[in-house]
Symmetry: C2
Subunit: 365 residues, 2 copies
């Protein structure tokens, strides 16, 4: 049995939970290796303290579920079966009585919850998310390899975008070119809506790309990532077009220093808070503290925002196997928006940087 | 007050529901005109039998919510506010006691449901989806105009795809080109993942596009749509590359006849079942009944699948203002996959076809 299922079963034992039924696409993938969006149909992994787990899925997915490597029972439900009846029957086959039942309270909707309440009458329902977030926090070597590859596609995408920069092109033109080249390489999903922001737009930490045309003297900010084998990457780079003024250059180099120093400090034992503060202090001491309004970074894996959260209040101790972004930024309205973001994997003694697109200020002619 | 809110309030009165809180992006947009994905933050429209409705949203969205035309109170919640406390307070300001509370049971998650249960202790919770689906079933002139424009972008997208057909290009190459050209026109969201399927892939009703290369003699199936001003289009066209064999041509013309005849029959008073049967009988009489495994069509609007469902069991009477797809198909493994799909708007006496890309068999040289 894989360590994920074993660790999850261990939690059920500790909490005296009789059964869990996990239904979000991300966590089903995490526990079973099967990645599928069943839309309105029911898909889930049932896990028990001792009994064997099972996967319940639409009949038409049984073949793919087997092919994904799931080694235990698969219950296929056709559109004329009642999947809740199947779920109840197969859970009750494994445990006599359910006193405590775990589910994802942020994912399961009221309609489904009412089904569970009716079928497991009197059970206490426990949220499973926090445990699953903790499990997903530490990545293994196989996950690292996939995340590295996802990061390489992100590097490639930035290069495509930089090559496209030209007077009169719009933000959307550049996004279209990036996604076109990625599609040709077989990448069919981005980890979030690709952002290319230019000029005043780049000076907003959450601008929306549109029909703004690139002009000489603009900073152009790329923030993007791909989904590769179910895992996400997330990179930001900012480049200048044609020329750069003194304040833009100054701001760029402060952000670069904050990013490089924070990355350098990463190793097991340091806290999230300390990392955030390294970058934040550099930016504050340079006089731009008010213009860095967000956390230093966020965890990355099957989800594009997962644990750990790298904030200046999080006392979490960084451990080997964590993967997160480091992305300080400075946004001064009408002057400059600069953010530099890498994805990192914490090693035994330090850090591997997964993204590798150059970070020194580039002036694109 | 717009007819949507008035009709919804009327339903609350009929059902004796004291308050409704509607939170899905689609239905918030439908009721308020405000289109926003608040991610994990709380966004919703509270509606009452008599009292004025209000919109609750993240503080940072208040400006956009006002700009979207919402005329009633807006409660903005910052990240340090408790939005549930705000919701409770503002609902209790309007109604003394909540006996019945309506919400979207397919949308609200257990975590949020528990908040509502705690704050409106003893209330009975009623599902609001079915009523909202019924309201959204009949489109007004403004919606028709937007849907027509969305359909025009879909026509354009098919034309781009057809122009790209060339030996050796992959399905993903063509999708990339389509989405590139749409992005350049300002379309940033497709209504579902664009499908371009070729050869054996097209002969599966739910194939996935990939790195399959187009060959002479293939049929190429395009199924795609765009989101324009919050509304969806959905078109399918099938073309032949270089040449076509007799069976492919025969199948094409049966599907075409089924599609054209079904569309011709649309007018207020006919049932969904009758429409499905017109197409299904043509296909069955030609000997391909077993190879048309899906319904004739589905409603279209803010969602890409909404009411009405055009099936051979749905006795629903078609009415003016309904918008739906007509999309018969025949899929014979290893021989041909053909589907032709239009979006239609039911008028007083017949039908307006929103999509207009040509339907006669095209052989692309």
């Amino acid at each position: 049995m894989n360590h994920r299922l074993l660790d999850f079963k261990e939690w059920l034992k500790q909490k005296n939970i009789d059964s869990a039924f996990i239904t979000s696409t991300e966590n089903v993938f995490y526990l079973s290796g099967f990645h599928s969006d069943p839309h309105e149909r029911l898909l889930g992994v049932a896990v028990f303290q001792d009994a064997e787990p099972f996967l319940l899925c639409p009949s038409l997915d049984v073949h793919d579920a087997k092919a994904s490597g799931w080694e235990y029972e698969i219950i296929g439900c056709s559109d004329t079966d009642n999947p809740w009846e199947q779920l109840e029957k197969n859970i009750k086959k494994r445990v006599n009585h359910i006193n405590k039942f775990a589910l994802e309270k942020e994912h399961v909707n009221v309609e489904r919850y009412e089904q569970l309440i009716n079928r497991f009458n009197g059970a206490q329902f426990i949220a499973a998310e926090e445990k699953l977030r903790q499990l997903r926090l530490i990545k293994d070597d196989k996950e690292k390899e996939i995340l590295k590859k996802a990061a390489e596609f992100a590097d490639f995408a930035v290069q495509v975008g930089v090559n496209e920069i030209q007077e009169g092109k719009t933000e959307l033109d550049i996004i279209a070119a990036i996604e076109y080249e990625l599609k040709k390489k077989g990448i069919s999903e981005m980890s979030f809506a690709t952002m290319v922001l230019t000029g005043a737009n780049a000076a907003s930490p959450h601008g929306n790309p549109g029909l703004t045309k690139i002009k000489k003297g603009d900073l152009v900010l790329f923030d993007l990532g791909v989904v590769y084998k179910g895992y996400c990457s997330d990179i930001t780079r900012t480049v200048a077009y044609d020329h750069v003024n003194d304040e833009q250059e100054k701001i760029y180099n402060i952000v670069l220093k904050a990013e490089v120093e924070a990355v350098k400090a990463i190793k097991p034992g340091i806290t999230a808070k300390e990392l955030d503060n390294i970058a934040r202090n550099i930016i504050s001491e340079a006089g731009y503290g008010d213009f860095f309004p967000h956390r230093l970074g966020h965890g990355l894996g099957i989800g594009v925002h997962e644990y750990p959260s790298i904030t200046n209040t999080n006392e979490l101790i960084i451990q080997e196997g964590m993967v997160f972004t480091v992305e300080p930024g400075i946004y001064v309205p009408n002057i400059a928006g600069v953010r530099i973001e890498d994805d990192v994997f914490v090693t035994k003694n330090g850090v591997d940087i997964l993204t590798s697109y150059p970070k020194e200020l580039q002036i694109i002619k």
